[in-house]
Amino acid sequence: MNRTEKHQREPLIHITRRADIPLAKAWLIRLAAIVSALIVCSLLIVAITNYNPIEVFVKMAEGSLGSPRKLMFLLQELSMLLCISVAVTPAFKMKFWNLGAEGQVLVGGLASAACMFYAKDSIPNALLIFLMLAAGIASGMIWALIPAVFKSVWGTNESLFTLMMNYVAMQLVAFFIMVWVPNGSNVMGIINMNSQNGWLPDLFGQKYLINIIIVFILTVVMFIYLKYSKQGYEISVVGGSQNTARYIGIDVKKVIIRTMLISGAICGLAGFLLVSGTNHTISKELAGGMGFTAIMVSWLAKFNPLLMIVTSFLIVFLQRGAGEIATAFRLNTSVADIITGIIIFFIIGCEFFINYKINFRTSKERREAKQ
């Protein structure tokens, strides 16, 4: 028959879903993914730059971990990314797609900077820092509250709403910089350069240690909150099925608003830490895209805050390493970005092989079938 001939052959590959996979095997697949990513990167490096790929990778690792100073920078960046990732996680677990972390961090930073700018040296450092913290957290909460209320009362789309709020936050920052810097350069210098009023103090002589400690404590607290607290359980139920939540009497609106307040508060805190602990100034690029990178960190870690330490390390490590090789080998920064991209692609892609199995056509079977 004509139409049977068309489909004579068994498909070369077919894909089946795995029921479950031993943990060791899953990690083996992930390891294999990283190794293959490195191989692909090596080929690319040799093809376009002719450098020894091993050298490039070593340089990359050195760039992130090479000296105590570099390590501290890495930890500082990691802690900020981790902080924002932890912030978006409760909302994501609730299936509230908060894409507005960027804006929430910005307004948090803006409020902190405003406290610094207006208070100058008029009040003691401790009081100022406390004020900045409170203002940062409060504004982050407000920025998150607005879309949460609209979502829970009128059912508006939270992704678009939070995304748009980012632009409002950016323009707000631009506006205040214009007000504060009358010379028209639109660049805010370091605030309170001399008195260092409103700067988080050094700890054991380390500049960013306070930031790092706060974020790591926060991560553990968030893990416990999501996994063991009643409110964390409510978040899972609302994320799993809003109807079931209503059925058992959970006030869904309340949970959405409460969770977004937590999410916004932590973003605001991140803004405060960036201004008070790291940058001591404010710009539109304060969050630097971390609000979006955090989404990837959170997803990769399957919304588990402790795993986010690993995933955020991975991403910061790659970013810093990529920057290092770009300068060390005088490569275009794009090459570094390509390498980062390939590695992340392999890591995300390998999840497919963890969830699915690929079956190849066995030629022996074919021969038997033909006889």
């Binding site: 049977t4 479950d20 063991y228 607290s229 209503r246 059925y247 009497g249």
Partner: protein, 511 residues
């Protein structure tokens, strides 16, 4: 005999560690209706999905009209003239019937809706369907949507039609209509395979029956020469008695009084219109009616999930003797009053359980708020989960398995188990056996009966009239949100109930 239009030889399919089909064989000829019978999880749907190109078999051969066929996608299945009508319809709501029918068809001619409608009408006439090709899907009843799905595969020229539990969502009358159409198709030379676990339908409709059990092929028999008990035995693997024992209500007292209840839906239409009744302790009150007559809204209104426009729901506390008004209270407030009201809703995974959470966390839904600590307590729910798994024989790898991975019957056992574990004084269950196999169904009926013996007031919304008249002490028939009559379960006949069910559609409300 002629060549089989479809023949399966030793088909096997494995999902992880589970062997869903183990060397299954099946043969169907043109001009016959073959019933594929088996309990839930016996691999019926998996097998059919391999014919319709959704899965690919791990082992075995498929022959179409005697030639070996390799079916890699639904598209290729269509090329072989195979069409499957799934349990869950795949239609675009805002399109009309005709538009849905041609959707995805890549015809080499101009898109001409008029011509398409004419061809659809031709099919409608040929087999005696009742459908308006211009009607939008969102205006359609479940039965009409199913008709669209059937015409969709006929339009594509299917000679082999596979229907996955087509009667599960239909009323008695609609089922009869569907059967007539299927017989007409058979007489037209089509091969029809119908997946079902309802024995009566098998006996009424099919020519031959193929039975599967736990993924294995058990046998094929001629319908004319078999019996209900033989088929049950093949299906279940042992002789079982299908009897419901109905005990006399023990000292019934009024437990729940609903009076003058009115609810409206979003469009302001009255879905519950002046319903008054009393549910008593120690009895099972059955609710019968055509799907969508207000059953869901009624139970949700009692449970505090529907806004009540008018009327009252009064609970008579058996311990204190105090009457509590439940209207205007949330489920949590109702529980805080000490009212032990349990509710098994119609849509198990959409309401009642969270599919992604494991059995333990689903047990916690009712109890997680207990205690002052801000942390949840998992020990109690874990014990409860293990007790339910053991007592109700839930088939699951462990208590830590997400419930969405369990089969329908086991999901229902988890839900019913949780709801009765609170030793309810009122137990409401909406279609608790929908989609369940014989064993699971009878297990659920027994659980309801046990609650009745414990003195709970059981409200049972059912669709199988045979079961309603066997199980219930009283049967309340509702139609269009009104009570059409309340009958004594011991004397009521199926016909009487059926008449009351459709009365509101023909001649307005009962006097």
């Amino acid at each position: 005999m002629a060549t089989a239009s479809i023949e399966l030889k030793d088909i096997s399919k494995r999902f992880g560690r589970i062997l869903a089909n183990d060397k299954v064989c099946l043969t169907a000829y043109s001009g016959e209706i073959l019933a594929l019978l088996g309990e839930n999880g016996s691999g019926k749907t998996t097998l059919m999905n391999m014919i319709s190109g959704i899965y690919y078999p791990d082992e075995g051969q498929i022959l179409i009209n005697g030639e070996e066929a390799v079916i890699r996608s639904p598209k290729e299945a269509f090329d072989y003239g195979i069409g499957m009508i799934h349990q869950h319809f795949k239609l675009v709501d805002i399109f009309s019937a005709a538009e849905n029918i041609v959707l995805g068809l890549n015809e080499h001619r101009r898109y001409n809706l008029k011509e398409i409608k004419a061809r659809v009408s031709e099919i409608i006439e040929k087999y005696g369907f009742e459908l308006d090709p211009s009607k939008k899907i969102y205006d359609m009843s479940v039965s009409e949507k199913q008709t669209v799905e059937i015409i969709k595969v006929l339009y594509r020229g299917a000679d082999i039609l596979i229907l996955d539990e087509p009667t599960a969502v239909l009323t008695l009358q609609e089922i009869q209509k569907l059967f007539e159409i299927l017989r007409r198709m058979r007489d037209d030379g089509k091969t029809i395979i119908i997946i079902t676990h309802k024995l009566q339908e098998v006996l009424e409709l099919s020519d031959r029956v193929t039975v599967l059990r736990k993924g294995r092929y058990i046998g094929t028999v001629d319908t004319a020469s078999t019996s209900e008990s033989e088929l049950t035995e093949m299906m279940v693997g042992k002789k079982i008695s299908l009897n419901i024992t109905r005990t006399e209500p023990n000292n019934p007292t009024d437990r729940l009084t609903v009076s003058g209840l009115e609810c409206i839906d979003r469009d302001g239409r009255k879905v519950i219109d002046g319903v008054s009744f009393t549910a008593r302790s120690g009895e099972i009150l059955g609710i019968a009616g055509i799907a969508g007559s207000g059953q869901r809204e009624l139970l949700e209104a009692i449970a505090g999930l529907q806004h009540i426009q008018n009327g009252s729901v009064v609970y008579h506390d058996p311990k204190t003797g105090i009457d509590e008004e439940l209207r205007g209270k949330s489920p949590i407030q109702i529980r805080e009053l000490g009212v032990r009201l349990s509710f098994v809703p119609e849509d198990r995974l959409g309401m009642g359980l969270v599919g992604n959470m494991d059995i333990i966390d689903n047990m916690m839904l009712r109890s997680y708020k207990r205690g002052r600590s801000m942390f949840v307590e998992r020990k109690g729910p874990k014990d409860l989960a293990n007790t339910i798994i053991e007592q109700l024989e839930v088939v699951t790898p462990s208590a830590e398995t997400p419930v969405r991975k369990l089969s329908g019957g086991n999901v229902q056992k988890v839900l019913v188990g949780r709801e009765i574990s609170a030793s309810p004084t009122v137990l409401m269950a909406a279609y608790p056996v929908r989609g369940l196999d014989i064993n699971s169904s009878y297990a659920i009926y027994n659980l309801l009966n046990d609650q009745k013996k414990n003195g709970a007031s059981v409200i049972f919304v059912g669709e199988d009239l045979d079961v309603l008249v066997e199980l219930c002490d009283r049967i309340m028939v509702i139609g269009s949100g009104r009570i059409m009559g309340i009958l004594d379960g011991r004397t009521a006949s199926k016909n009487e109930i059926g008449f009351l069910m459709t009365k509101s559609q023909h001649g307005g409300p009962a006097e």
